[in-house]
Symmetry: C2
């Protein structure tokens, strides 16, 4: 069978069983599909079960619940070599409210053509690549789906070249029109994160999520609130901090919000969507291994716990190589690629549980059933809103914003004597 | 050899090696000392290395760095059967600032006598049990150490009986005096989380951390800001939300703060200590398995990442049984114990790395070297403060606090028609 990496390269299916347990050489640290599968393949079942309990937050002895998807979906996954996983979160039944189970999807994808191809061809090829994944979601009865950040283009911000702005499009542009048709066809809410060109405001560029209703209508937009200036993420060269606040979109299937990429490092951004009533917050992202992989499983789960809502985390996948070499502000020589986008899309729930992650190497569709009633159940159980003392923090922030803010510091008198 | 649990019960040392790899029956899920050791004992070294990289956030191919402690410390650990682990975090050297490496310790402990013993004997026995761990820290050159929440008493709040208030003591009471002597002896800053009796304010009870300077002086106090009302954590029956704000204590070894127990679920509480300049925030806790174990490895690491400081997480250990049975508000019959306090104390760093955890069953001392310069290095690298847009949130909070707050919700017009 060879290593998982080899099997992937051969396009073989990637179900890892005890017999195909892989061995990893230190040089091939990207050889496995996900931490979950690596552990599953290398631990005895009983130990794996306990490790899963701790890592996936499966308390009360509850096992990880997989959903069986229809053959129409699994065959699309096999034909198009995308990872397909489906799970269900647990919630208690209530006496006074019906269950509100929605089926939610996340799509991660690599680009489809070299970045040297004609821009129109690149964009079109990505759309054709993503379509079978949306079709699989449609065949699976997914109600709400979210794509990755700026999914319709390579993540070219590392280059600092302005020509990539040509990929930007208006809110009702090509990508939106493509997805509106699929939204109507599958009666599905689709979150469409694009690079936006705001023609009515002097061609301003934004990083935007367009929320498309299940009738194909545009419900509204959210523009990325927090912009990175780190490593190759030269996004502040291209667009500014969003001006749309923290909107929650009330769709046919629940109240959703979008925290785009770098916003996941800001607990306040997550909190604001919570205060506005979000039940599911998507985090469409594009992030690379060396920089952020240790943070990836932490921040989304923390947000789900602290704010009593579900989180869907999406990261693009693959390595993107650009025509002109660039430096990365790290003293290293010029190079042409952004590093490895490690995929690993997954869901987190307000009860601190989470799903395993999609592949670190391949396109993928993650599906999960979630009862939105769980959000309020967790609010009632843990009382985080009730105990939050927002008045303390409103007061602190108003002081902190002043130029002469003095931090609350108590100095050891013994130190003061020395001074 | 038998299972780890058996070996622990026999008082045997618990270093798990390849040869002693344990097998777990589904019924004995508490049989292993820590996730890290369970994986180490059951994975091939190369795979364990990669799993560690992901779980401990060891990026850039950097291995986990262990510190070799002096024999005086290791022999105290062996004689008194407490877990002893020591690690070092990595930080870059700077050109204009000297390194500021401090050695920091965390102590977790079970109670020492049955809860039926005379209160004075119980308290005294805990102090005598904790002393060798502080001695080991002293022998190891630890600069700052923190004990667990209300370390000088059983965590009796599950009972709702007011007699346990007798354990409360003034800021300069018995526990503080005991630790002041050790602080002087070892030139060590000691954080002393007690149940406080505020005699000058009508015998009010608080949940308080007393910060003792390295000369044995009391630098100041912090009172727990957020109080749980969940499960057996009936703490709001005993004391109210703290009135000391979010103080940072400038000690001889760096700027520290204390986020007591349930405050770790509140990102705003973590944030406030950060805005006031904390470099290390301790989270002395008491929490049990079924309720919070899946959250435990998430929240502290997220706080360290989001606020660019170190976090020291401490949880008490063992099962505490009380004289009178009580119910838990979960419909189950009365019972006499609080469940298993799972220990698992550990450190998190601002670069998203963390140490393995102390034992889930035994007392323990965790030691870590940390260069406080890393905090500013991460602020410069990631720019979370710079990009935080606090003015947005100050404005949101001021609106949210008003009774007529209207969340920012964009309703799908198709839904409105239906209504």
């Amino acid at each position: 069978m060879g290593s998982l990496q080899q099997r992937e390269e051969n396009g073989e299916a990637s179900v890892v069983t005890e017999e195909t347990a892989i061995s990893i050489s230190p040089g091939s640290i990207h050889g496995f599909e996900s931490l979950h599968r690596l552990l599953e393949a290398n631990l005895k079942p009983q130990i794996f079960q306990e490790v899963s309990r701790l890592l996936l937050g499966l308390n009360c002895g509850r096992p990880l619940e997989r959903i069986c998807l229809p053959e129409a979906a699994t065959s699309l996954s096999a034909e198009n070599n995308f990872d397909l996983q489906a799970f269900s979160f647990h919630a208690d039944k209530e006496l006074l409210r019906q269950q509100r189970v929605v089926r939610v999807g996340l799509i991660q994808n690599s680009i489809a053509l070299p970045t040297t191809a004609h821009f129109a061809d690149q964009k079109n090829a990505i759309m054709q690549k993503v379509k079978p994944m949306i079709d699989a979601a449609g065949a699976s009865g997914v109600n709400i789906i979210c794509l990755q950040e700026a999914w319709m283009m390579p993540f070219a911000f590392c280059t600092r070249e302005k020509k990539w702005c040509e990929f930007a499009e208006p809110v009702d542009g090509e990508a939106t029109q493509f997805l509106q048709e699929l939204a109507r066809k599958y009666n599905m809410v689709i979150v469409n994160p694009i690079l936006e060109r705001d023609v009515s405001h002097g061609d301003t560029i934004w990083n935007t999520a367009v929320v498309i209703g299940n009738h194909g209508n545009i419900i509204g937009i959210h523009r990325k609130n927090h912009i990175p200036r780190v490593g190759d993420f030269n996004e502040s060269t291209y667009y500014m901090e969003g001006n749309t606040g923290h909107p929650v979109f009330e769709t046919a299937y629940g109240k959703i919000a979008i925290n785009i990429c770098y916003g996941r490092h800001h607990p306040l951004n997550w909190l604001a969507f919570g205060l506005n009533g979000a039940e599911i917050v998507f985090n469409p992202s594009a992030t690379v291994g060396e920089l952020s992989e240790p943070m990836w499983p932490i921040e989304a789960r923390n947000a789900a716990i602290a704010n009593s809502y579900y989180v869907g985390s999406i990261n693009r996948v693959g390595t993107e190589v650009f025509p002109n070499p660039f430096t990365s502000g790290d003293g290293k020589p010029q190079h042409s690629d952004f590093g490895h986008f490690y995929g690993s899309s997954h869901f987190s729930a307000p009860d601190a549980s989470c799903t395993p992650s999609l592949s670190r190497h391949r396109d993928g569709l993650m599906v999960s059933d979630m009862d939105l009633n769980l959000c309020r159940q967790l609010k009632d159980k843990w009382g985080f809103r009730m105990t939050a003392r927002y008045e303390l923090y409103a007061d602190l922030f108003s002081k902190y914003l002043k130029p002469d803010f003095t931090p609350q510091v108590i100095v050891d008198p013994a130190l003061q004597k020395k001074i």
